[in-house]
């Protein structure tokens, strides 16, 4: 009985993993194929579909050295880092004030923030651009991430988690003499780490993958972001599929590495659930 159950479990897990991994396996092999080989072995499916007959590093060298992907990746890393740090900080602070404090206008502020989620970006990208222009920030790096710092989704997420924190904890700290201005860093932050990590991940990938807004804001090609660089591979006359597969690999690997490094937050969160005093 036991071995059968174990096999079933293993099989279903493998199937699950397979569903998510299959495109990547194809991508992985294809990234090392030359253009002529890329689509020659798709039908019928054979080992050649996933493993290049004549592996080549040409795609990567083209991307990294001719098309400047190294610089692009570094740029985008920098942009994502600033976006994540800034928005997680600011949004969690705001969520704290909105969830655990009360003041005249609180409901209105919360509603306004939630309301901004409802309008799709495509509808407001032009007006936002005009606003940025009027402030005089057109074509600056600042204009790139500044609109991203106040994120209603993040505020909503953090508010939810702050709501789970028992008020007594706050009250006790105040009685102990902790000023309200220090409550955030002393009490609140340590207790919502899982949400902070999730929020950080969302924001990071959002900035990492962004391309429409940078396209509008950046008026010169000196600062290139990854999303635009990849979109540039889709031209009117040809789609550089061989480069697309390898760029996919290049854009996923750094993130996966960061992710693996962040794993320990999850393990810590899982083994010690509950409220931290």
């Amino acid at each position: 009985m036991k071995p059968l159950k174990k096999t079933l479990v293993v099989l279903s897990l493998a199937l699950l993993a397979g569903v998510f991994l299959l495109p990547y396996l194809w991508m992985l092999g294809s990234a090392f194929k030359s253009r002529s080989e890329l689509f020659s072995y798709v039908l019928p499916v054979s080992w050649k579909t996933f493993i290049p007959v004549k592996p080549t590093l040409d795609n990567f060298t083209t991307l990294l050295f001719e098309l400047g992907f190294t610089r692009t990746i570094l740029n985008t890393l920098g942009l994502s880092a600033i976006t994540v740090l800034g928005s997680v900080l600011l949004c969690s602070m705001a969520a704290f004030a909105l969830s655990l404090l009360d003041f005249p206008g609180r409901r209105l502020a919360f509603f306004v923030i939630m309301f901004t989620m409802m309008v799709p970006f495509e509808a407001r990208m032009l007006p936002t651009f005009l606003v940025v222009q009027d402030i005089g920030l057109s074509n600056t790096f600042t204009a790139l991430y500044l609109p991203w710092l106040a994120d209603a989704f993040l505020i909503f997420l953090f508010s939810n988690h702050f709501a789970e924190i028992p008020f007594d904890l706050y009250h006790a700290a105040v009685i102990d003499g902790c000023p309200h201005t220090r409550i955030y860093s002393k009490i609140m932050l340590p207790n919502i780490t899982p949400a902070l990590v999730s929020g950080a991940l969302i924001k990071f990938f959002f900035a990492w993958d962004s391309y429409v807004w940078p396209l509008i804001i950046l008026r010169n090609n000196r600062f290139q972001v990854l999303g635009v660089a990849i979109a540039n591979l889709f031209t009117d006359q040809s789609i550089a599929w061989e480069l697309i597969f390898s760029s996919a690999l290049l854009s996923t690997v750094p993130v996966v590495i960061i992710f693996i490094l962040l794993q320990r937050y999850y393990i810590a969160g899982m083994t010690s659930g509950g409220i931290k005093e």
């Binding site: 253009r35 002529s36 890329l38 689509f39 020659s40 600033i82 740090l85 800034g86 900080l89 990208m125 032009l126 651009f129 005009l130 222009q133 920030l137 057109s138 074509n139 600056t140 790096f141 600042t142 500044l146 220090r182 860093s185 002393k186 932050l189 340590p190 391309y211 429409v212 396209l215 509008i216 008026r219 010169n220 090609n221 635009v228 979109a231 540039n232 889709f234 031209t235 009117d236 006359q237 040809s238 789609i239 599929w241």
Partner: protein
Amino acid sequence: MKKTTLILLLVLCLSLTVLSAAGQAESQGTKPSELKLLVPQSPGVVDGVQAVADAYKRLHPEVTITIRSVPFNRYKEQLQIMWASNDVDDIITTGSPDISNYAYYGALLPIDDLIPVSERSQFINGAIEAVSYKGSIYAYPFREAASALFYNKTYFDLAGIEAAPLDKPWTWSQWEQNVTKVMQAAKQKTGKTVWGITFLANPGRGDFWLTPIIRSNGEKGSATYKAISDDGMTLTGYADTPQALEAYRFYQSLYTKKLAPTAEVPDAFGTGQSATFLGFLSSAHDLKKNFPDLEWGIMPLPYFKTPLTHTGGFTYAISAKTKNAAAAKDFVKFAGSDEGIKAYFDVSGSDLLSRTDFAKRYPQYFEDPYQKIFSYILQTYGEARPTTPAYVLYNSIMGFNLFLDLASGSDVNQTVQTKIKEFETQARSM
């Protein structure tokens, strides 16, 4: 510890902000001789225009030129956003049929003085008209394009079919007969199931590629051949003639008869999965580079009653809101001159040109055999695309959506009528 880290991070963010703002502030100072160009990511365009800019700077070292490139399928959107701002790019490159559309909206600067009347005959037939609006010229025609049918020689030989010579294109019924035989032979002798025809993007789309099929079913000068009214605003009576509908039905049959694929097949022709392929000059170069073992040839586009292929390529135009009109005009004049053309070709390779006299002075740029073929096709069958100040609308509705719907199997009459109505309504409220 946590709090200090947070404060440090915040300080870091703020200082980066200040630094970058300061850095930008310096380069944002308005210099009278600074030109900004906007180009789409199209093979050869970015490098070529950069080369032209470099050559220009050598003659005018006091001018700084910045080139910005954006992904091709976002180009039109970016143009609009750019023109909506108060800091426009001075020079843009865009396909010739779009010019009258942008001129209609007042987004472009007239440049009649850059092409004196005496020089206008040096341009290929229809090139100047294509970039004119209400009697003024709004762009400098640069590159041209022409489409042709590539064929897989190996498969054709297997079937014993000989391709059409350059001066005698097949009719579409001849094409269908021959290609069916080729597909059968390929299946029998190599076991491969190949497509009869594939396009640069499958299923086919684009006014440049597909409308010639429809127009060719009309005699020259007929409504079907013209495809649109003279003022460019009416399609009723032009795109819905019995001949046009017949041609649309033929196009749909390509998909129902499984001659053409209904979903993208990248590199179908290069990987030997299709008997013929609708392409242009750069397709020839791509094939040579990426699929050197393939044996292929070029024949002119098949037709019904009148053979034709669409022309028009990218042109240089100047934004109406430019702050450096004189410098911009000077640059465009240079880009279109012999020196500019040479600079472009030296980097991006030669191509078909709107200016016909350049070839006479510099024949060395026209030695490529494929270029000669396409040059011949351009001269013999070339016809400007339907001229309309609503070209962006026209291409989107009639060039893309219509053909895509037909490929998905919608009713021909109904779809054509719906799309015509949509175009005319939108064009009226432009």
